[in-house]
């Protein structure tokens, strides 16, 4: 891990924390991405417009970063079939568990919510086991 990696990782984390605090302060909302994204599906409710604006900001961040000279590295090695299965599991699992890496992992843990701590330990463990099996076990 280089000095630059340490800085960019910490700095990225600080920005994520700032964004979550901002949404909490101005919108009274937790920055849980799975919940915000799933909320654009029907049944639609009044006052859901902010979701589209949040997601628009999120999606536009990478091209904007490039525009100002930053580099965006995205390398996907998994086959499409695996990605389709993984997407289904992530979509269904985050709804059933009520949060993902952002909702539980950052917002919930920052509030020391026991549910979020348990959820985070659970998905970290199954993710670790899955990677181990794929890379070293099978």
């Amino acid at each position: 891990m280089t000095y630059l990696t340490v800085l960019s990782s910490l700095g990225g984390g600080v920005l994520i924390g700032l964004a979550a605090a901002w949404l909490l302060f101005f919108n009274n909302r937790t920055a849980g991405i799975s919940g915000i994204a799933a909320g654009i599906l029907p049944p639609w409710q009044q006052g859901d417009a902010w979701r589209y604006w949040f997601l628009a900001g999120l999606i536009i961040s990478a091209p904007l970063w490039k525009l100002f000279g930053g580099s965006v590295q995205i390398q996907i090695d998994a086959p499409l079939v695996v990605l389709a299965v993984a997407g289904l599991l992530v979509g269904y699992g985050t709804r059933l568990g009520g949060g993902c890496t952002s909702g539980h992992g950052i917002c919930g843990n920052a509030r020391l919510s026991v549910r979020s701590i348990v959820a985070t330990l659970t998905f970290m463990t199954t993710a670790g086991i899955t990677v181990f099996l794929v890379r070293h076990g099978l």
């Binding site: 891990m1 990696t5 990782s9 910490l10 984390g13 600080v14 994520i16 924390g17 700032l18 964004a19 979550a20 605090a21 949404l23 101005f26 919108n27 009274n28 937790t30 849980g32 991405i33 994204a37 902010w50 949040f54 900001g57 999120l58 536009i60 961040s61 990478a62 965006v72 590295q73 995205i74 390398q75 996907i76 998994a78 499409l80 990605l83 389709a84 299965v85 993984a86 997407g87 599991l89 979509g91 699992g93 059933l96 009520g98 949060g99 993902c100 890496t101 917002c107 919930g108 843990n109 920052a110 509030r111 549910r115 348990v118 959820a119 998905f123 463990t125 670790g128 990677v131 890379r135």
Partner: protein, 140 residues
Amino acid sequence: MNLNLSAFISGLVFGLGLVLAQMTNPEKVLAFLDIAGNWDPSLALVMVGALLTLGTLQRLIRKPSEQIQDTDLQTCVNPKAKIDAKLITGSAIFGIGWGLSGFCPGPALVSLTAGLAGGYVFVAAMFIGFLLFNSMHRGR
């Protein structure tokens, strides 16, 4: 501040954080999750930076739990919410998907502008997963 504008700014800063930390790169995320391999611990620092920042700021903001309109029925903010089988099962399923792909919801959405088929397939499947949950568990 206008709720849509503040949400846009939050989403933008959140995405820039993911990009800067390279959490948007599935291969980097998988290297973080692969403790037995050539382990890349840097993503733990993303968590540290985010938790310290949010933890400090929310103490200053002092927003009571009741005021927060959490998307997931206050599951991550309500201190009285119980740990149940849904929480464990759902999180376990999510972890398997995360481990298979290296994508969690935020980075997957950011990857949409990269023009990669894998990103499109993952996000489409993720929304089908949301719909599957809605149809199985009646509403959200």
